[in-house]
């Protein structure tokens, strides 16, 4: 069975296995508290911020670049949102719009330096990491901007009414099955070998039952948390962009071989800049969720978040050499990291141990990846 699997599938399988292992371990260790509806709801709400950051970061890494400014940028954008909301009492929609546009602008700024001025992204975004944090502290005078309005709280703290939640998930499941069906049809038409129908539909069935199970658990607590719905929507959009659009295709090509892609007439510079722009927008969304959850804009917000995002991508099978990676993998990576955090906190593991364990997991994940690739 393993021989016939592609590397990407093997990776997915390994990730699911790791996830299962983590869930089983913590469930036993916490006498089932880990899998209580309340905790699961909390856990995936915690995943939302790193998850959204990872969605943007995965594109950056696939294009063989890196963005270290994400944490500071999230702090700065969250601070801007808080200032607009608390100091100027902007309507919520304006606040969201201005924050997202600011994220786009900051991302494009990074991208312009990288793509057109040829400064290595490591340096550009390291500069951003320092400067954005500096701007944030300057703007807020180093004090927390609070309390945010009740309307801003909707973004990060509310839950979706159960009727809506159920219909959204049902729609999603139908879409998933339909997609498997149409893809098989298309492949058949072009004489490309399909995987066995059993295997593919079994995969779809598992996905549907996981979604249903999750829905059931969440509904038995307070419903689907809004940030998770936002992240879910972004996952769908980003996966579509990565897999089915010319832009996504070009990002993979650039990461795979930038010279050959340029020789193929692709506007490599513009594509790269847009990748950073897209990443900036994802950071803005994450910033809004963060500020809303904290109910405040803090000058220290988002510290080191870039490392969590990068770790999530890498654990999720994204190659730092570029050209390889997937949105879903990055989300799984974020989920694994959040589960470890959550589980260890429940067990009262000291913070220093949590850091050590997370570091080891990161190392282990990449080591396994390197090993399996070599074996092939």
């Amino acid at each position: 069975m393993f021989k016939t699997m592609k590397t990407s599938q093997l990776q997915l399988f390994a990730m699911l296995a790791a996830m299962l292992l983590i869930v089983v371990f913590f469930s036993f260790a916490t006498d089932g508290a880990f899998v209580s509806p309340r905790n699961i709801s909390n856990l995936i709400r915690q995943t939302a911020i790193v998850g959204v950051l990872a969605i943007g970061m995965v594109f950056v890494i696939i294009s063989a670049e890196i963005d270290l400014s994400v944490g500071s940028m999230m702090g700065l954008l969250g601070g801007i949102a808080a200032i607009l909301d608390v100091w100027f009492h902007f309507p919520i929609l304006f606040t969201i719009l201005i924050t997202v546009v600011s994220g786009l602008v900051l991302g494009l700024f990074n991208g312009w330096w990288v793509a057109y001025q040829k400064v290595p992204s490591f340096i550009v975004t390291l500069a951003g990491m320092l400067a954005f944090r500096g701007i944030l502290v300057g703007l807020t005078d180093g004090v927390t901007v609070a309390p945010t309005s009740s309307s801003l709280a909707i973004v990060g703290q509310s839950y979706i009414p159960s009727g809506w939640g159920i219909s959204v998930v049902a729609l999603l499941c139908l879409g998933l099955v339909a997609r498997v069906y149409t893809r098989r049809q298309a492949r058949q038409k072009h004489g490309v070998e399909n995987q066995s129908a059993k295997f593919e539909y079994a995969k779809a069935t598992i996905a549907v039952s996981v979604l249903m199970g999750l829905l059931f658990i969440l509904e038995s607590y307070r419903g689907i948390p809004t940030p998770i719905l936002i992240m879910g929507g972004l996952i769908l959009i980003a996966t579509y962009v990565a897999k089915r659009t010319a832009f996504g295709r070009r990002v993979y090509a650039i990461g795979g071989n930038i010279e050959a892609t340029r020789m193929s007439g692709v506007n490599v510079e513009r594509t790269k800049m847009l990748v950073f722009g897209f990443n900036g927008m994802m950071v803005a969304v994450a910033a809004l969720i963060l500020t809303s959850r904290l109910g405040a804009g803090s000058p220290a917000a988002g510290n080191m978040a870039e490392l969590d995002a990068i770790a999530a991508c890498v654990i999720g099978g994204t190659s730092l050499a570029g050209g390889v990676g997937a949105v879903f993998g990055a989300i799984m990576g974020a989920l694994i990291m959040a589960s470890l955090d959550n589980g260890m906190s429940m067990l009262d593991v000291p913070t220093f141990w949590q850091l050590i364990v997370k570091g080891m997991i990161l190392l282990l994940a990449v080591w396994l990846d390197v090993k399996t690739k070599k074996a092939q």
């Binding site: 298309a186 038409k189 072009h190 089915r244 071989n257 050959a260 892609t261 193929s264 007439g265 390889v324």
Partner: protein, 509 residues
Amino acid sequence: MKQPLLDMRGIIKSFSGVRALNGVSIQLDPGEALSICGENGSGKSTLMKVLSGVWPFGSYEGEIYFEGNLVKASSIRDTEALGIVIIHQELALVKELTVLENIFLGNELGSFARLNDEEMHRRTSELLARVKLDVLPDTPIRDLGVGQQQLVEIAKALNKNVKLLILDEPTSSLTTTEIEILLNIVSELKQQGIACIYISHKLEEVLALSNWVTVIRDGDHIDTRSAENLTQNDIISMMVGRELDELFPREEHDIGDVILKVNHATAKQAGASRAQVEDVSFELRQGEILGIAGLIGSGRTELMQCLYGSYDGNYEAEVELHGESLAIRSQRTALEAGIAMVPEDRKRHGIVPIMSVGRNITLSVLSQYSSWFGAINEDQESQDIDNYIAQLKVKTASSELSIKNLSGGNQQKAIIAKCLLTHPKILILDEPTRGIDVGAKYEIYKLMFALVKQGMSIIMVSSELSEVIGISDRVLVMHEGRLKGQFDHQGLTQEMIMNCAIKEDTANV
């Protein structure tokens, strides 16, 4: 009975059930040279990987004896210790380091704290003299030409006390003079008792150099024959398993009006003293195959880069396409104007290795399939991919296979498909058949004639003079950045081109 230096017996190597080598046996005495011929994908490089220890003992069937002892190598380091050194097609020198540093990389003399520079300097000079390379030991590698780098590799091998030297396609990027020098060196090494295994598609060299010729086809050992009395056609028919009526299938085609005029093309690297292309003017007609010959470094490739907008320095050229002047500033403008190029360096500029064959083919024309928000119509895309794979006979198990798994010839066909999808009026082929087996070469030539018959014009840069003469309608010869001569293919000989390409300048490697 005398023991051979190398004795490989019944080597079998399988990859996930598929036999890449099916019982290959070769023997070699000191001072002899054996050439291994076969189409790409026939198993030559697998055999060399088995011999050099890339595939460790135990991962293959059969035995290897070297100087009478069974070889149980687990890595290249083990075989190098025995005196088996392989020099790859892609040179493995560190460009930033000097000749000396490269030769002693990993084998530095002296203690960890203090290197014995004097001794290393003396030994390097000796080695360089042995390979007749007239450069100082302190010259950085990046200042040397490809041919000179090849010689440094050989010097490096000599430093390791090589007994068996394996050369994998050593001449594929060398010019005729450079090849001659390399072949002379190898002959001398043979006289000094060093055995040599030579892998090449260039059959002239194979016959000139070797004592034995082994032909492998689809992993099977077809035959090993003495090189005496063997002709190129014998080897080719053993390689392809059928007689090729001719190497160059020239077909008559009509040549129309001038469609492209290039005037005063000049290209120069920032800060360089000499221009790589200097005031070159030429014309191209519709339906014409224009060959461009010249030594490496003569500015052939750079001239093409100016036409395609990919030159990485400053360049200027008055280009007129169909009577309209055209400023080519990037690959995009070239493609939009109807100029497509198959680049010289397939790995660096041609393929995106981890992407599928299909996706490589459509990379240039993604916007053709995209809706307003960029979604790709995969149905339409697959149709085009299927069509072109069939039309160009790209041999691949599936269009979804990574292109890196294909042989060089099939990768090249996929890159040509990528260019053809842009529906170019002018197709530039820079070394289109480098490192490609005879069968695929033949198909590419056939394709070129089919294309010009449809009215496309082709510019072909090539180091293989027989190819330039065999395929082109007209030949331009470049020398040190300038256009030195123009010939019609009728009555053109290799000597005429070489004389023109070298001119007053003496042979410089």
